[in-house]
């Protein structure tokens, strides 16, 4: 469709044409109840232990007052040695971590090395600062690289903190209490996993926006162990009714089978160049 009013091709990237319309529409909904974006209302936590980093997250995603997803994956893959937990608006964390992961894999292909955690943090910081907090992503980045085990947090305005243990999200105060009490430097693997599990559990118990199961991701120099779920919630609903229909419930009136006659018209073999 050719419009006579388009004088230049529109720029790629974010398009702000609809903001005036949205502002006008906001007043028209009753009580100003515009549709709310899907937030993760989360508890996420991370701990640096002797051989690497443990990241933990709950699995509930809320859309204002309703649980939208009971088994949401909040620990995102960035690169083989870096994983990222995301709190805030679900779409924003998902897309930002996707873009970060793509950029780091381009770097890996170019240089033949695994990326370092500081690179991921710098890229994220630049990206989030550019958008002045409009992208609602609170991220915990944890990874192991040639310089050691690192845990960073990046806020939506681009603030960065490097810490040995950390909790973010709406349940972070409860989780941080458990972490402050139980954290020691150079923990063993099992103790670190239990500490993170207890921290997330405290967040689940004390915060309405967190719940359901607990996911754990252990990153060490040898590899990554993504345990999903590490601990299932005790309050799973056991469905008693069976909603599947047994075969034969619907009567078949007529049946007509038409076999497709296929004949080979042309066959070409192209050798792959494996040199």
């Amino acid at each position: 469709m050719a419009l006579s009013t388009v004088l230049e091709t529109p720029e790629a990237g974010f398009n702000f044409d609809n903001t005036a319309r949205n502002a006008a529409l906001e007043g028209l909904f009753d009580g100003g109840q515009t549709p709310k974006p899907l937030k993760t209302g989360t508890t996420i936590a991370g701990v640096v232990f002797k051989d690497g980093v443990v990241l933990g997250a709950d699995t509930r995603a809320t859309s204002s007052d309703v649980v939208a997803d009971k088994m949401c994956a909040k620990i995102h893959y960035i690169s083989p040695n870096i994983y990222c937990c995301g709190a805030g608006t679900a779409a924003d964390t998902e897309k930002t971590t996707d873009i970060l992961s793509s950029n780091l894999s381009i770097f890996s292909l170019n240089s033949g090395r695994n990326p370092r955690v500081v690179m991921a943090v710098n890229i994220l910081q630049d990206m989030l600062y550019r958008y002045h907090g409009q992208i609602g992503a609170n991220l915990i980045l944890g990874g192991v690289d040639c310089t050691g085990n690192h845990l960073y947090t990046v806020g939506p305005y681009g603030s960065v903190n490097k810490v040995p243990y950390l909790a973010m999200g709406s349940g972070d105060l409860a989780a941080l209490g458990i972490l402050e009490d139980g954290f020691k430097h150079d923990l063993e693997l099992e103790k670190a996993k239990e500490l993170v599990r207890d921290a997330i559990h405290a967040g689940i118990m004390s915060d309405l926006g967190s719940g359901n199961n607990i996911d754990i991701c252990v990153i060490t120099k040898k590899g990554v162990d993504y345990i999903r779920p590490y601990k299932e919630s005790e309050y799973k609903d056991a469905r008693k009714m069976n909603y599947k229909y047994r075969p034969g419930t619907t009567a078949i009136l007529t049946e007509k089978v038409v076999p497709l006659k296929l004949e080979v018209v042309q066959e070409t073999v192209q050798k792959m160049d494996t040199a």
Binding site: M1, V6, T9, K95
Partner: protein
């Protein structure tokens, strides 16, 4: 929206208000852009609108001035000459250009951002009228 805050972003720029309204056939499209209002046309409607429009320009300015301070005047001059040459390799205004040389010079052929994913101009649903766009580009409009 906080119009006072947005007005302060307009300090140095003078936007050309409503050459043609945004609807089909040049009539104001009330469904998509609301009623005609001069405020809507002059002020940016989103806090990020101006900063995103000028982002690349500002970044280049900053980089060139740093380069000038470190390496002397010749460095940004040579780079800007190369950018100017690469920017001229374009197709006609209504066709999508790959900008390959420009991307390589800038280093954006090795990174992915929101401008590669959202609003891809090669997949836009509307195109401009070819004659109008060429006239605008040549300054004849």
């Amino acid at each position: 929206m906080n119009s006072r805050g947005l007005r302060s972003q307009l300090k140095d720029s003078v936007p050309v208000a409503g050459l043609c309204p945004q609807g089909a056939y040049g009539v104001q499209d009330s469904l998509r852009s609301g009623f005609t209002s001069i405020k809507n046309e002059l002020l940016p409607s989103h806090p990020l609108e101006l900063s995103e429009k000028n982002f690349r320009l500002n970044q280049d300015k900053m980089n060139f001035s740093t380069l000038r301070n470190i390496q002397g005047l010749h460095a940004p001059l040579k780079l800007q000459m190369e950018y100017r040459a690469a920017r001229q390799i374009q197709r006609l205004p209504f066709l999508p250009s790959s900008n390959l040389a420009l991307d390589t010079l800038r280093g954006s052929d090795e990174s992915i951002g929101f401008e590669d994913i959202l609003c891809d101009p090669t997949q836009s649903e509307v195109i401009g009228e070819p004659h109008t766009m060429v006239e605008y580009k040549l300054g004849l409009l």
